[in-house]
């Protein structure tokens, strides 16, 4: 009896001695996202109000997407990330492979107007292990001061080197580029995945990419394309719409977005299985995807909120007189020729198409 007491008190003593470090590690909520202007919008809209409300300290980390780190952490049994912002196809795959905690949708808070969460979230934004926060898209943009005469208006213009000479920036990888190539080749955006599912469609897409290959500068991180445009390294580049918008709104760059043929996608919160602060992470997830927080984020970056009830609350850019509505990928005017990234197609074909893409690139 005495011995156990002694042991217990020793343990408590040791715990107190080393505890300050451990407690901090367990107390800090580690939120992982994509960095740059995007993380900044989340810090303003989610982190700051959450810290003010709960007193929980948030540690913000950046990463470049993919599920490799989550997989490594879960398999090693040492999960240091509590909640991660991922793309849809990654969320689905990680969930399928048992790397994520499942999330009960009925526990999500109702919309500000009282609509239950399952109806308030836009269709196709709630998944077993993931809850969407924003809709983002890949568009292409150009510098208005460099291209002065006829302005590019369609995806075909992006691939037209005769009409608009100059280098092009594209994301390194098969995803989205193949869709763009087909749209430029005359396939309506809505039919792109049907065509891409056939071997002839894939050949057609690569043939179209071949026509601009010699002029392409490839980018990998979201922060690169606005930089490449600003440096004059490329005449036009594909980019995440929010990054271009922030260069325009925040840094007064003369960039113009072309909305034709854009391929939109979701970003979702996921909680890695065995996260050290699972409860807090879930609490943060619920808080950050409430109507108000999602609407607030839209005043810092031009990504559309995943809740219907947030849309009417979206106003102007936080420190400028710019209406955010028309900047959103989900604005009806921007959706005339657009398609949602087909996660199932990419889950099925990403390995093979990336292999072909890499072989094509190295030739």
């Amino acid at each position: 009896m005495k011995l156990t007491k002694l042991l217990a008190s020793t343990a408590v003593g040791v715990a107190i001695a080393f505890g300050s470090v451990a407690a901090q590690a367990a107390g800090d909520l580690t939120v992982v996202s994509w960095g740059g202007a995007y993380t900044k919008s989340q810090v303003e809209a989610y982190h700051k109000p959450y810290i003010a409300k709960t007193g929980v300290n948030i540690k913000s980390e950046d990463y470049n997407g993919g599920i490799a780190e989550i997989k490594a952490q879960v398999e090693a049994g040492n999960v240091t990330w509590d909640i991660v912002d991922v793309e849809l196809s990654d969320a689905i795959r990680a969930c399928d492979e048992g790397l994520l905690e499942t999330i009960d949708h009925s526990t999500l808070p109702a919309g500000a107007d009282g609509t239950p969460a399952t109806e308030d979230f836009i269709q196709g934004t709630l998944y077993d292990c993931a809850v969407a926060n924003i809709v983002w898209t890949t568009i292409y943009a150009y510098d208005k001061e460099k291209i002065t005469g006829d302005a590019p208006k369609t995806m075909a213009d992006f691939f037209d080197l005769a009409k608009f000479p100059g280098k092009r920036g594209l994301r390194k990888g098969a995803k989205v580029n193949l869709e763009f190539a087909l749209i430029a080749d005359g396939v309506p955006a809505q039919e792109v995945y049907g065509v891409l599912a056939t071997p002839e469609g894939v050949d057609r897409a690569f043939a179209k990419l071949d026509t601009i290959k010699s002029e392409v500068v490839w980018w990998e991180a979201g922060a690169q394309p606005p930089q490449m445009l600003a440096d004059g390294e490329v005449a036009m580049t594909t980019a995440y719409n929010g990054r271009i918008f922030n260069a325009v709104a925040g840094e007064d760059k003369p960039f113009e977005i072309v909305w034709d043929g854009h391929v939109w996608d979701l970003d979702l919160w996921v909680i890695p299985k065995g996260a050290k602060n699972k409860e807090a992470a879930l609490d943060f997830l619920k808080f950050s995807t409430e109507t108000e927080q999602l609407a607030k984020q839209a005043s810092y970056i031009s990504y559309g909120p995943a809740r219907k009830s947030s849309a009417p609350l979206v106003g102007k850019y936080h420190n400028k007189d710019i209406d955010m509505g028309p900047q959103m990928p989900t604005d009806p005017a921007n959706l005339t020729n657009a398609v949602q990234n087909n996660f199932e197609f990419w889950a099925d074909n990403a390995d093979q198409l990336n292999e072909r893409f890499n072989a094509w690139l190295a030739k």
Binding site: D96, W218, N358
Partner: protein
């Protein structure tokens, strides 16, 4: 008789051993002492041995193992794996086997344990049959609703792709724990529909071409390093000490500088808006809109890697050249040999151990290089290690990454063996 009496005393000593002061036979005591010393010596090397095992033997062993061992299939569908193993491969499997398949599917659908989910199996099969991933996730979602036979008909109702004997042949292959399919993929080969090995479609061949490119780029880099380093080392070894020390610092300073800093410095120098292009434009060599692309391609990789690996060639060459007395060359010249002849016959042969060490070092470092090509390689300057990193970090196909890594290791060992035959490893001199 006299011989016997003379040889008697030594016989006596061998049967009655020498005794040490404490009464223990000397031989035994000696053996004990040697053993203790050996143990102590071993004990001293123990940290190193352990370190080598933990940091070298185990990871490489694991890599070799992982490249042929992938138990995903039998982990996800344990019962089906046992049953399909004995299937004769004719037509479609019997409905008993299919029943097990459906039940395993339904069970796996509920399993959330990492490595044992339907998603894991779907990913594994997708490596073999691209585009089949959703067939498995979709079927698994409905598997628990199939409660009675005929099970095959129920599967075909979900998706008619199940009515394909080749799919089941693939499943039979995938549920075996040991496989060569990752080595096939790593050499641009695959199993075709009927299960025989064929080359991959030309548009999808990537690993062998990149492997060849890695080998010849490494050879090119080694040759360039040698051409630059030989005269530099000669200069360093013959100049007066004060000058050569100063020059040596110029070699060592970059050597001590971080790899990333040196690589980024080359980006600043070589990019289209960079220093060299600016100078060319300023001097009127090229037009402002015809700037030369010197980085983010193979040229950039070669330039940056030659610079980074140069000290590994200079240092062994220098240390060998330093030991060659100048009097040898003078003697050759005084006996009438021409400059070239005496260099060829007297000086050069003595530097061979340094050349051997330098080229081996540079070649082996170059063939596994990763960071520099990743930063400046662009599209056509990528090496095989970049593809390995891609599979470990991005596509998460660790088995394929391991197979590629093993192939790279074997290639290096082959070159080492060739080298040993040609130059002799005993001939190496690192300094």
């Amino acid at each position: 008789m006299t011989d016997a009496t003379l040889s008697a005393p030594p016989q006596v000593t061998s049967t009655t051993p020498l005794i040490a002061a404490d009464g223990v036979p000397l031989k035994q005591k000696l053996a004990r002492t040697t053993r203790r010393m050996k143990m102590r010596a071993l004990f001293l090397t123990l940290p190193l041995v352990l370190f080598l095992i933990v940091s070298f033997v185990l990871p490489i062993g694991q890599m070799l193992y992982r490249s042929v061992h992938n138990p995903t299939g039998s982990n996800v569908m344990p019962n089906f794996a046992v049953q399909i193993e004995n299937w004769d491969g004719q037509g479609l499997p019997s409905d008993d086997i299919i029943e097990t398949f459906v039940k395993d599917m339904a069970a796996a659908r509920k399993n959330r344990e990492v490595g044992k989910t339907i998603g894991n199996l779907a990913t594994r099969v997708n490596y073999e049959i691209p585009g089949s991933r959703s067939l498995f996730t979709k079927t698994a979602r409905r598997a628990d609703k199939i409660t009675e036979g005929p099970y095959m008909a129920a599967l075909i109702e979900i998706d008619k792709k199940w009515d394909n004997p080749n799919l089941w042949l693939t499943l039979q292959r995938v549920t075996k724990d040991f496989t060569i399919s990752f080595y096939l993929a790593a050499t641009d080969r695959k199993f075709d529909e009927a299960g025989s090995i064929v080359r991959a479609d030309e548009l999808y061949r990537i690993y062998l071409p990149i492997l060849w490119k890695t080998i010849w780029l490494s050879a090119l880099i080694t040759a360039l390093c040698f051409i630059i380093a030989y005269p530099v080392s000669y200069l360093l070894s013959t100049l007066p000490l004060r000058t050569s020390n100063l020059l040596m610092i110029l070699v060592l300073l970059p050597f001590w500088t971080s790899l990333l800093v040196r690589t980024s410095a080359w980006i600043a120098m070589l990019q289209t808006e960079g220093i060299i292009n600016n100078v060319f434009v300023y001097l009127g060599f090229i037009d402002d809109n015809q700037r030369i692309q010197m980085i983010y391609n193979m040229t950039g990789t070669v330039i940056a890697m030659v610079h980074i690996l140069l000290p590994f060639m200079i240092l062994p060459l220098f240390s060998v050249m330093k030991t060659i007395p100048p009097s040898y060359m003078r003697a050759a010249r005084s006996m009438g040999a021409s400059g070239t002849y005496s260099f060829r016959k007297v000086y050069f042969p003595q530097t061979v151990p340094g050349i051997a060490a330098g080229t081996l070092l540079v070649f082996i470092l170059a063939i596994g290089y990763y960071i520099t090509p990743a930063l400046v390689g662009g599209n056509d300057g990528l090496l095989i290690s970049n593809l390995i990193a891609d599979h470990i970090k991005k596509t998460l196909n660790w088995s394929l990454g391991a197979a590629l890594g093993t192939i790279l290791l074997v290639v290096v060992l082959i070159f080492y063996w060739l080298y040993n035959k040609l130059v002799g490893v005993d001939n190496l001199k690192f300094g």
